[in-house]
Structures are given as C-alpha cells and as structure tokens.
C-alpha cells in the first residue's frame, strides 16, 4: 500500500469536479445525512453557552494578536520548547518539512511511523514523501485509516471518510486490512461498533511496535512551550505517549501567546467541531518528561505559503482558522459536492479561501483549478455565522475573485460578459425613464420564450446559457410594478 499514494493533483476546476460529485447519489446521500446530524448537534452545543459570542470575539482577537506578533511569538515558543528538552526545526515549504521528518526517522533507524490525524501533514503530502524514502506511515485515526486502506482521498477536515457509509467501510476493512497488518476479524459485520473494534485490534500492534510517531498540533503556547492535540479515539494519546520519538509538524499560525488563551479555544473548538462540550481526549506536553512519554521531541515549524497569506491584509484572517470544520457542514455547496471536488485537503468554504492563498494567489497567477475555488460559493454567509474565530469568509471570497479577474485567469471571459451585463443594468437603473423603457423592453423580448409564466431551459451562448442551462426564470410581468402603481394612484384620485 505504501507505494500507492493518491493525491489531489490533477483535480479538474471546481465546476467540472462538482459535476461528477453531484452525479454520485451514494455520496450525496451519505454526506447529506452526516452533515444534517452534525449541524443539529452543533446548534445544541453552542446554544448551551450564553457567552458564545464573547468567546468568538476573544478567539478572533487572540489569533489576530498572534498574526500581528508572529516573529516574536515564534521565537518565544522556540525558546521554551528548547528549554524543556525539545528540538525546534524551521521549514520554509513542504520539501523542507518532509526532508526534516524523513531525516529524523532515518537517524533512528526506523522504517515506519504511526501518525495522528493531521491536516498539515496532508497538506505537505508527508506520507508519499516518506514512502519515497522507504518509510511506511500508518494513519491511526479511524477515518484516516478508512481513507488510507481504501486508497482514497479525504473529503472532510474532521471526518475524512464522511463520504463512506458503514457497508463501504466494512468492505474496505474485510478486503484490505490483511495486506498491511492484522487482518479484519473473521465474519466482520458492518455494525459501527464491530468496525471500531476491528480498527482497535489492527492498530494496537502498530502502536506497541512503533518507535517514531508524527503528529500535527491544534495549538502551541508561546509562553510555556506547550503543544496540544485534541482527539476522540485515543489514537492520538497512543502516538504522543508510546513511541520513543515524537515529531510534531505545525503551521506557524497555530500559536497562542499565553497559557490562559487555551481556556477560550478549549471551549470554542470541541463545540464547533464534534459538537461536544469537550472532546474525549486532549493531550498537552511541554518538551520531554523523563520517565513519561517520548525521550525525544521534535517540533517542525512550517511556513508553506502562510507568509504569503499573511501579506494580504484582507485574506490574512484565514490564518485564524482552528480547523473545526463547522463551515463545511453548513455550506450548501459543500453539502452537495463533498470535499474531494475542492482538490485539496482543505475543502468547503475555508478551503475555498485557504488553498488559493497558500498556493500564492496574492503573489502570482495560479492554475485554473486553484483559481476556480473562490467561485465555489453562493456567498450565503452561513460559514461566517458559525465560524468560532469569526473569519469573514464571504469577504475573502469576493476579494480573491477580484484577484482572479485581475489576473485574467480562468473566469476572465465569463466575468467580462458579467461586467457587460452589470454595466447595462447600471445604465438602466440610472434614471426612472430608462428603467421604464428597460422594463417594457424586457416584457416584450421575453414573451416568445415564456411558457406558463416561466422561462425554461434555453440554449443560449455564454453566461446566459450557463444560467438557463440549469435554472428557470419567472417571466417578466406584462405590466411592471411601477406602471401599475402610477396607474392605481391616478385612478384613486378619482373622477
């Protein structure tokens, strides 16, 4: 399996990728059900805190403070991790980080690592990089295991296998576990509890054997050098406790300045993410502790496009993200297309703003797939409402669309038609007489296309065609409201 690492490379631009996702009835069914469940749960978990808005404001401010003072806080973190016996590494990009991790694993003569679910190691495609060095990386989160065994790609930040139902998971376990370790128990059913038990047995051997573990970090405290991982299953605890060597890769934005700041995020994150008062397990460690846990701790600080994001004063708030995934579950686009259409480990609304920025959209023109992401939204704003750190995602989407248009990218042609139409509308709306003429013209022009008061599927060229290809429009009224109103006013003045 280690020689087979699917990547997001080659994902077509969003509209095309969405088309095939939308045609998959099973996917839509699985996703619709799962996101409806988590939406309802999250609403209850958040409603329980009457100070939720105050927590959001504090969370956003703490993260803004981090971004404003990033260099000094990173140096403070480095100092405190080092003082506690850890080693801090600096990685400019994915290649740096992957090389650092591989070198540490090789130095210990290890040929495998156990992994805690981590967004950042997906972003840098660490597993594939380690495989090229002859090192096997075992995902230990249940959903990540399902994705890895299924030679699949993740489709959700919190629940990467959200697109799979129990029957598909059972099939993957029965057919794939044996090749990479302890086989699935004989006669394994599709019951979720039985599937979880199979994962427990399969992975226990790997946990006890592994000498090196790799994790991400949810937060790191500059003031104390403490690193923190939240999880549910206990696989994270296994990884950060049992092996001799622990390597944590974290984006440079995952800092908080003070220990006290954790009191905010330990409330915002679980309720937004798994919709619980608290997630089952949270591990916090500061360097190494003799006689307890790993003997060696390495912290890899990764940039990989974050500085480019930071340089954009509108877009930088995306770096507040604590990867809770609440915005995915409420997004009308994500809920229908699923995560893989976004062509990145970061799907949904946050992916639509984070991926293009990490890929440098504010610095240089980007490829067609990346340029399509800011358009993968109806701008309804539900994502902003649920974001625990108040990232104004619609604002950034519009901002990034502007950049794509300026760069003359993939949408430029369509957008120029849009600009022409907007220009025409601006002219029509500029005076009451002009508007009256436009209204009458619309009624006359649309008449031949109208059926039962609506304009149905039309084959038209360009943007109009794109609109009418999948939408109906109500036919303009024969008499406009304004004409009706002035006539009514005249009549009521009476004879």
């Amino acid at each position: 399996m280690t020689d087979h690492h699917p990547t997001f490379a080659g994902t077509p631009p969003f509209p095309k990728a969405a088309e095939s996702a939308l045609a998959d009835g099973q996917l839509r069914d699985n996703l619709g059900r799962a996101t409806a469940t988590i939406r309802a749960k999250r609403e209850r978990a958040v409603a329980e805190r009457d100070d939720w808005e105050a927590l959001r404001l504090a969370g956003a401010a703490i993260k803004d403070d981090v971004l404003a003072r990033l260099p000094e806080l990173l140096e403070e973190l480095e100092r405190n991790v080092t003082k506690a016996g850890g080693v801090v590494h600096w990685a400019r990009d994915a290649a740096d980080a992957n090389a650092i991790v591989a070198a540490i694993v090789r130095d210990h003569g290890a040929t495998e690592v156990v992994k805690v679910k981590s967004m950042v190691t997906q972003e840098i495609e660490l597993n594939a990089a380690l495989a090229r060095e002859g090192i096997s990386a075992w995902e230990t989160d249940l959903a990540e295991l399902i994705v890895q065994l299924g030679r699949d790609l993740p489709s959700h930040i919190l629940v990467p296998a959200i697109h799979r139902n129990r029957h598909e998971i059972g099939e993957i376990f029965r057919s794939r576990m044996a090749a990479v370790g302890r086989p699935a128990p004989r006669g394994l059913s599709d019951e979720p509890a039985a599937l979880a038990e199979a994962a427990r047995l399969h992975l226990r051997a790997k946990f006890l054997r592994a000498r090196v573990a790799v994790s991400g970090a949810n937060f790191a405290v500059a003031e104390t050098g403490t690193v923190m991982v939240v999880e549910s299953e206990g696989n994270g605890r296994m990884c950060v406790t049992l092996p001799e060597v622990l390597i944590t890769v974290m984006g440079i934005e995952k800092l908080v300045p003070t220990w006290r700041d954790l009191e905010v995020f330990l409330q915002l994150l679980p309720r937004s993410s798994t919709a619980e008062r608290m997630n089952p397990y949270t591990s916090m460690w500061t360097g190494v502790t003799p006689g307890d846990g790993p003997r060696e701790f390495h912290l890899v600080l990764l940039d990989n496009g974050r500085t480019d994001t930071l340089a954009d004063s509108v877009g930088r708030q995306a770096l507040r993200c604590i990867k809770c995934s609440a915005c995915l579950n409420v997004c009308p686009v994500y809920v229908r297309t699923g995560g893989r259409a976004y062509g990145s480990p970061y799907p949904g609304p946050i992916g639509a703003i984070l991926t293009p920025q990490l890929r440098g959209i504010s610095q240089h023109p980007v490829d067609a797939q990346t340029a399509s992401l800011p358009f993968a939204s109806s701008l309804c704003g539900a994502c902003y409402d649920v974001c625990p750190v108040r990232i104004d995602i619609p604002e950034i989407l519009v901002h990034l669309r502007t950049q794509v248009v300026r760069q003359g990218g993939w949408r430029a042609r369509v957008v120029s038609q849009e600009s022409a139409m907007m220009g025409a509308m601006a002219t029509a709306f500029a005076g009451p007489r002009r508007l009256g003429i436009a209204e009458r013209a619309a009624a006359v022009v649309s008449r031949p296309f109208s059926r039962n008061g609506g304009i149905g599927r039309l084959s038209l060229p360009g943007l109009l065609g794109a609109w009418f290809g999948s939408r109906d429009l109500r036919a303009p009224a024969a008499v406009s409201f304004r004409r009706w109103w002035s006539r009514r006013a005249r009549e009521s003045r009476g004879p």
Partner: protein, 223 residues
C-alpha cells in the same frame, strides 16, 4: 542529520517580518466570557450529570466506603489484574479481594501494560461544566501510558477537586507537567457521524466521586 534544525530560521523570520509590513497596534483581547459557573450551581451534581452524558459510569462514595466502591467498580467488569500508579493511597485498593494488584514500580513495559485489564488513578482536577477529569501524572496517577493501555479506567475524584468551568481548570493546572484531559471513554464519530464509545483508549470509564457525608458543594456567591 542532513540539515541543521535552524538552517532556514533567519530567512523565515525575515519573510514573516516583511509580510506584516507596518508594526500593528497591540491587539486588545476582550474577555467578557464567563470564567466560572453562576452562583447556586451544585458542582458535584453538574459534574456527575455531565460525566454520565458521555456514557461513563458515575458512582458517589463516602471516604469510608471508598474501598468497597472501588471493588464494585472493578468487579462489575470482571477485572482480574489492575495496575496501581506510584503514590496511590493504599486504602483505595485494600478491599479488592482476589483481584491482582500490579504496581508500576519498576515501570512495566508497554507489552505488559497491554495485558492488564484495568488501572485505578486519582486526578489533578475535574471540571463540572464539561464533565472532564484532568490527569497531570502526579502522585496516585503515574505516567500517561497507565491510563491509556488498560481497557478500564477507574478514576477517583475528590469533591474539592471539582471546579466549575474550563477557565478555572486552566488557571489551576501546571503546563510543565504532561496533561491528559479525559471526557468520557474513548469514542469515535467517524462512521456516519454516529458516536461509538471505545476505540483505542480505555473503552470503559468509571468515575468515583468522593463526597463527605451531607456536605453540599454549591459554588458560593463571589464578590
């Protein structure tokens, strides 16, 4: 190693500095959220209710009845061997009968720990609002692996260790110690977002709250 850890440090910090452009105003963090529970909340009641929500077992016991309560908690799950951390009060396990006590002294190997059915532990602090217990590897708790590999964790919480809300817990914990926050048994929601208790950590969590007689634990009005 092929590269020095700090090889790219200077260049990275330089890039970040130039990305931030103008040194911005210090950001004021508004902290108008609650930092404790409202007066009048019975902390023990709230804690017990919230632990129970995670489908953990909650028992209340007086100090005198504690040995018998510990025995019942272990017997209910057919435990044969239980590991005891250094510093565990001997009285807690004096009535376990035929259940074998295995001291983690000298430390057991992971493979040995994996073959033990249960662990009994104290805690550093407990949080009423979220039903959380926090272990800090102190006396009576031991290293982190002890509360991880056995399938049953019996945790003894003294009433005076229960604080109201998360901020009070953060204020009282020592970040230099390895900390494990535990809220119910290990769980997953990875299959169709249905919660299943019990994956890699202990699948069963028993919390014993030690209360002293008729004393109540209602948070007093603070000034």
């Amino acid at each position: 190693m092929s590269s020095r850890p700090t090889e790219f440090r200077g260049a990275m910090l330089e890039r970040i500095r130039s990305a931030i452009d103008t040194p911005s105003e210090p950001v004021d963090v508004p902290r108008s959220y609650r930092t404790s529970l409202p007066a009048g909340v019975d902390l023990i009641e709230r804690f017990a209710e919230r632990v129970d929500d995670y489908r953990a077992v909650v028992r209340r016991s007086s100090e005198r009845e504690l040995p018998a309560t510990v025995r019942r908690a272990l017997e209910g799950h057919h435990v044969r061997r239980v590991v005891t951390p250094p510093g565990l009060p001997a009285g807690w396990v004096k009535a376990v009968g035929s259940i074998e006590l295995v001291a983690d002294d000298p430390p057991l190997t992971h493979a040995q720990l994996d073959r033990i059915d249960a662990v009994i532990s104290g805690c550093a602090i407990a949080i009423a609002e979220t039903g959380t217990i926090v272990l800090d590897a102190g006396a009576g708790q031991g290293r982190r692996a002890l509360s991880l590999l056995p399938d049953l964790l019996v945790c003894v919480v003294r009433a005076n260790q229960v604080v109201g809300d998360v901020p009070e817990a953060v204020a009282r914990l020592d970040p230099r110690r390895p900390l494990t926050w535990i809220s119910g048994p290990s769980a997953t929601s990875d299959i169709e977002l249905n919660r299943i208790e019990g994956v890699h950590g202990p699948r069963i969590l028993e919390v014993i709250i030690v209360v002293n007689g008729a004393r109540t634990y209602v948070r007093k009005e603070s000034g």
